[in-house]
Symmetry: C2
Amino acid sequence: MLNIAIDAAGGDHYPHHPVQGAIQALKERAELHITLIGPEKLIQDELDKQHYTSERLHIIDAPDIVGMDEAPAVAVKTKRNSSIVVGLGLHAQGKLDAFFSAGNTGALLAASMFILGKLPGVLRPTIGSIYPSVEGNKFMLDVGANIEVKPEALVQFGIMGKVFAENILNITSPRLGLMNVGEEPEKGREAVRQAYQLLKTRPDFVGNIEGRDVMQAKADIYICDGFVGNLLLKLGESIPENVLQILYSSPASKKLGEQEMQLFKNVLLEALAPFDYQLVGGVPFLGVNGVSMVGHGGSSPLAIKNSVLNAEKFIRLDVNEQIKNALA
Amino acid sequence: MLNIAIDAAGGDHYPHHPVQGAIQALKERAELHITLIGPEKLIQDELDKQHYTSERLHIIDAPDIVGMDEAPAVAVKTKRNSSIVVGLGLHAQGKLDAFFSAGNTGALLAASMFILGKLPGVLRPTIGSIYPSVEGNKFMLDVGANIEVKPEALVQFGIMGKVFAENILNITSPRLGLMNVGEEPEKGREAVRQAYQLLKTRPDFVGNIEGRDVMQAKADIYICDGFVGNLLLKLGESIPENVLQILYSSPASKKLGEQEMQLFKNVLLEALAPFDYQLVGGVPFLGVNGVSMVGHGGSSPLAIKNSVLNAEKFIRLDVNEQIKNALA
């Protein structure tokens, strides 16, 4: 029986979203145990509000709260009784099988590195994100954990991303692409040019990917450093809302009646739903010696439930063992 | 009388688009002279096809062709009789007032640097682009000329972009924003963190801008290096076409009849037209000692005409003198 922990004191909507996500996961997966970690009374009050009890639901008290904008290293060092430090500590001891948080990403990464350590052979653990395209979801990494990266680490991001995409996103034979400002190997930053040279003999490498090609699905795995990836990810996430706003303020919209506009808005938002991070489950830190998953601060209960299911899949398919083999 | 040169051997559609753009500009601006530079016979044949003659239209023969993907430094060195080298040479001698090309951007930048030189005080000339937002067009720079940049050069990009935006884009009191992965000053790459420290005392600086804020118009001038800017620009340009494709392939689109779909497509494309580079005129290399403008390879005749009008405005308002003063 797997026991997956959820940070009940992380994200913009705790404790209610984590608690509701836990309940949804328990209802959907009859063999799963969930452990909510955070201030005990806060969690129990929320469970009472939801009138929910289950033998498969556990609570571990962790009274310290890590703020969303708190400096990661300081938070991990000083808040020993926070959900993040307590949860990852129990995971490291084998008492929990995975830990999910929608909280402070930096703190979660720092604590994961410090408490779980890296998988053998990994230069830098990384975090990726689903990126929508005209041919379904693709995977981009790094999206913010590693701001400046050596070429060898970029290559590893691609390999780890591939294992994740094959196992968790069900993408067959994922193609690796390197985010760059042109197709030619000599384009771009020094680290990117060197990464190209390291990648070019791989049969799964399809070359440099430009900004215009991301949504065109020219690759399945988009490799970049966390500075570039974070900017591209957040720009992508903003597309549905901004396209609608630009549409509303355009003189062209006068050609639509009120009802047509409402219909169009609904269709557009539904079509662009993959851009909405709240619907997408969390993703793991790839390369750490454990299963530490992070979700967006705004994660809905559905997103948290999906994160738990992703964690379960990650464990059952032993993705970390596959990563070790792929990097060896 | 101003005499503005157009590269008749540059871009994806020469000579017809440059020639047609020249004709449009001459018809719209009665006081302007235009000089087409490229293989003379090619230009004359196209003019004959258009049945167009004007005393204000001139041709200068430049038989060498610089390919769109040719290595810039080599092209500039070996193709002395190319439109770019000939045109910028005549501009440097004061025989032409500006030079526009939709050709090889790298070659144009290299030739501009080599032949025109930099304005006093400029660390790195830069190229920017219009970026659409919910509140009209904003300006992003650098978008590809400078892949790795020192903090002091990033600050200058902001100052030069501001002068350009005030004079050519008619943005009053432009606000400077620094592209970054978070709002906090300590976020991001080293050069970006240092640029923040240099910018923070300026009253026109509004802080770091995240990917999700670009289209939200949180600033008027988006400062970044050319690696990041090129990726963000090309991703932005791809939005209209990709949003449509995602819409078409979504089950949600089944809620629309064929006629409704056609209407929505037209309205959407019209609203998102600012993302279409073919409608937008060229932009100058800011910081060179002259007026050297570059357009997209796919520039339409309209885009080329608009580029000529931008060049005229740039000269009449003496934007270079203003840049010198702003940097002093």
